[in-house]
């Protein structure tokens, strides 16, 4: 029985393992050179490269990297002032949060759906344009690992450069190649003719790139175009109808909930009648939630403001003509 994949390796950590020698074991401890996600709160995280002499300073005080080395990922570490943060191993989802500082927190819904709907599995060759912040690219790379490849293109040289730096940082360089190219104008490079399993477009005028996409895809291969406006979708679908089938447009959203523990007043408890709405916020909290849980109610409430729209996702499958 082959269990090489369970071997423990001490090379520096990549965001996710993609060859058996780099197999991640989570019991592994933080080493010099590792990328860690410093977690303060759900909406406050930061990516930090660990170095023997490094320090991290935030509102909780000063943290010495040397204190972190040797601790397992998932540990709580303390500052000189006794404040603490958690040190997490990076994931594509945490990386998205770090990249975007919460503004893109719901983007995970689109990303997840795209990866599954494009039928991306290990070994796939995937084309993407534009690269943007590289947030989707990271998830594409996770899905094609260990032996597939993502070729991603951006019009802006500068943006491509920073994405390339990021993939270097997260250790994904061998899975992702970043190119600078005007895909709307020039299409994808000819070297990918008939070789792409899936293609993803996030372009202002996706219909200009669709003829090239149909040349790059393998038969029955799937493409996806992400557009914020319905006119872009209408025009893309029109163009898609000649070479593609199974054309479907979706909108994906995610609502999140807060959880609160508390009791609602009974009619009689509220004799005064003058209770203001403000007082509803300071609900009585048990000191030990678990023991009293039966007497108190735990209630979930939708978070009020949420992302009402990100974009439309249009999928299409290249017709089988052979």
């Amino acid at each position: 029985m082959q269990i090489t994949s369970l071997r423990i390796d001490l090379k520096y950590l990549t965001m996710f393992p993609f060859d058996s020698a780099k197999k991640l074991s989570f019991s592994r401890c933080i080493s010099d050179g590792d990328l860690v996600i410093v977690y303060e709160k759900h909406d406050n995280m930061k990516a930090v490269k660990v170095s023997e002499s490094g320090i991290l300073q935030n509102r909780f005080g000063v943290f010495k990297h040397s204190d972190w080395i040797g601790k397992p990922f998932g540990s709580k570490v303390f500052s000189n002032k006794g404040g603490f943060v958690y040190l997490l191993a990076p994931t594509a989802e945490l990386w998205t949060l770090v990249l975007s500082h919460r503004t893109q927190i719901l983007y995970v819904a689109d990303i997840s759906f795209v990866v599954m709907y494009l039928e991306i599995v290990p070994g796939c060759l995937v084309l993407e344009s534009g690269t943007g912040s590289g947030s989707l690219t990271t998830s594409l790379a996770r899905a094609i690992a260990p032996n597939g490849h993502v070729y991603t293109f951006d019009f802006h040289e500068q943006r491509a450069d920073s994405a390339r730096d990021d993939f270097e940082r997260t250790g994904l360089s061998s899975l992702v190649t970043v190119g600078v190219r005007d895909i709307q104008g020039e299409g994808f490079p000819d070297e990918f003719l008939g070789r792409a399993d899936s293609v993803f477009l996030d372009l202002p005028q996706p219909w200009l790139a669709i003829p090239s996409v149909s040349k790059m895809l393998k038969q029955d291969g799937v493409m996806c175009s992400f557009s914020p406006c319905i006119e872009q979708v209408q025009r893309s679908c029109e163009t898609l109808r000649s070479d593609f089938t199974d054309i479907k447009t979706f909108e994906v959203l995610l609502h999140t909930y807060e959880v609160r523990e508390g009791n609602l007043w009974s009619w009689q408890d509220n004799e005064g009648g003058s209770m203001s709405l403000k007082s509803c916020k300071k609900r009585q909290r048990s000191t030990n939630g678990l023991e009293n849980a039966s007497s108190l109610t735990i209630m979930a409430k939708r978070n009020g403001e949420s992302r009402g729209h990100t974009g439309y996702l249009t999928f299409a499958r290249l017709k089988c003509t052979v």
Partner: protein, 450 residues
């Protein structure tokens, strides 16, 4: 930009785009009206209308190709239809006429049922019948383009049904079940499934612990992402593992099947490091042969029954198991977890956890299995109801077992995008359930006042 040739070769193995004898396929009849899972063997057949069609002609065809029923020498066969690249026959034009004066009248057809039977006897194809019906319709020309299209589609489905050959992927399998037997996969919608895989950070070489009481849809989707690396270990409380019939529908090769294992939660928790009686290699080997096979064989009989019950368009399972014994032997997914693997999991912990157990209390389950994860590992719990996840989230917070906790409710809507007729679909699935996700943390060993 250079291309690594070896990648593509290995890709070919893992991600084949042409069917082979014994492979599992998803047959989509009339654009989703009926969906069947079938295994392609020389002997297997499906019934379309009143005709039993052999599936032999589908072997060696590319996934994505379409077929129509035709009369062959030895009975009805499925014959490949090449898709034109010029769009649908009927050009959908922007509608300038409105349909306020439209009168619906179905009695304008001069072709009788006998006429059609006669045409068939003379060997007319389905397409020819549809054309004759249009030619003999007194009202077709007067209809709006929209109504013409509807009429055409209706007649085509009846007289010239199309069979689309789809690859069985987590996407297509989940969609087919959700559409036809949602209760069998706990009403898990495809976008929710995709979120579970993301939130649990499933990636190559992960060791993923699952509590999959959805007949294997989670296990299969995870195995698909692992691509023959890492492990997906389906844990259970009692002695018998939970059934994972759906895993059979994926075209998993041996490498991938090897990585699909099960283990009871008590084995994973036990402090002994040596092989316990239940993990004795001999018994283990025996389990591999007998018990998972039983899982594979018994439900197909059940499904065959449900197929009979749902003649009119439900999802069906067509698996001629006896006709292809080698194939069944090939898909021996779901053996007992190897002792060595359990040993390493005990030492290092699992790297991901997904729980999808609609009838279990979420907190009660998670408090048992979360300690099996390594620190910093991601987890995702699916439930149809909000309240059990709310309680679970609260308790995880109070017990300081996890951070980054979030309850998410996915929302998905499909659109019709057609000239002058673009709108969201009138029907949608209102509930994709809820997901509680988070990251396990190490216990507050050095608690200090902040």
């Amino acid at each position: 930009m250079s291309i690594i040739k070896t990648e593509e070769n290995s890709n070919q193995d893992q991600n084949p785009r042409i069917t082979w004898e014994g492979c599992s396929v998803l047959l989509d009849i009339n654009d989703g009206d009926r969906v069947l899972f079938a295994r392609l063997t020389t002997g297997s057949k499906i019934k379309i209308g009143n005709k039993n069609c052999s599936l032999q002609s589908l072997i060696g065809c590319p996934f994505g190709s379409s077929f129509q029923v035709e009369d062959g020498k030895e009975g009805p066969v499925l014959s490949r239809v090449l898709q034109s690249t010029e769009g649908t026959n009927l050009q959908i034009m922007e509608e300038s006429r409105d349909n306020r004066r439209l009168v619906d009248n179905n009695s304008a057809q001069s072709l009788t049922g006998e006429d059609i039977d006669e045409m068939r006897r003379k060997g007319a194809s389905g397409d020819e019948i549809v054309k004759a019906l249009i030619a003999n319709s007194a009202t077709f020309e007067k209809k709006t383009a929209f109504s013409q299209e509807k009429y055409l589609l209706k007649k085509q489905k009846k007289y010239a049904p199309r069979v689309l050959l789809r690859r069985p992927f987590a996407r297509s399998i989940c969609e087919a079940y959700f559409k036809k037997h949602a209760e069998k996969i706990g009403f898990l919608r495809v976008d929710t499934l995709s979120l579970l895989l993301s939130f649990a950070n499933v990636s190559a070489y992960s060791d993923v612990l699952v509590v999959d009481m959805l007949d294997g849809i989670i296990t299969g989707a995870v195995a698909e992402r692992l691509g023959g690396t890492g492990y997906v270990c389906n844990t259970h409380c009692g002695v018998a593992p939970y059934p994972i019939n759906i895993v059979r529908m994926f075209n998993f090769n041996n490498d991938i099947c090897q990585r699909i294992v099960h283990s009871s939660v008590s084995e994973l928790h036990s402090s002994e490091n040596g092989p316990s009686p239940s993990t004795d290699p001999l018994e283990d080997a025996c389990n591999i042969r007998s018990q998972p096979n039983e899982q594979i064989l018994s439900p197909s009989a059940q499904h065959a029954v449900s197929m009979e019950e749902n003649e009119d368009g439900n999802m069906e399972i067509m698996t001629d198991v006896s006709a292809s014994p080698k194939v069944v032997k090939g898909t021996k997914a779901g053996r007992k977890a190897p002792v060595e693997a359990i040993k390493i999991w005990k030492a290092n912990g699992f790297s991901s956890l997904i729980i999808a157990a609609p009838n279990l209390d979420a907190w009660d389950t998670v408090k048992e299995v979360l300690p099996l994860l390594s620190y910093s590992a991601s987890f995702a719990i699916y439930h149809q109801y909000l309240q059990p996840l709310a309680t679970c989230m609260h308790n995880l917070q109070v017990e300081k077992m996890a951070i980054g906790l979030q309850i998410s409710e996915p929302w998905l809507r499909e659109y019709q995008v057609l000239p002058s007729r673009t709108h969201p679909l009138m029907q949608m699935s209102a509930t994709g359930g809820y997901i509680l996700s988070g990251t396990r943390i190490s216990g507050s060993d050095q608690t200090q006042a902040k």
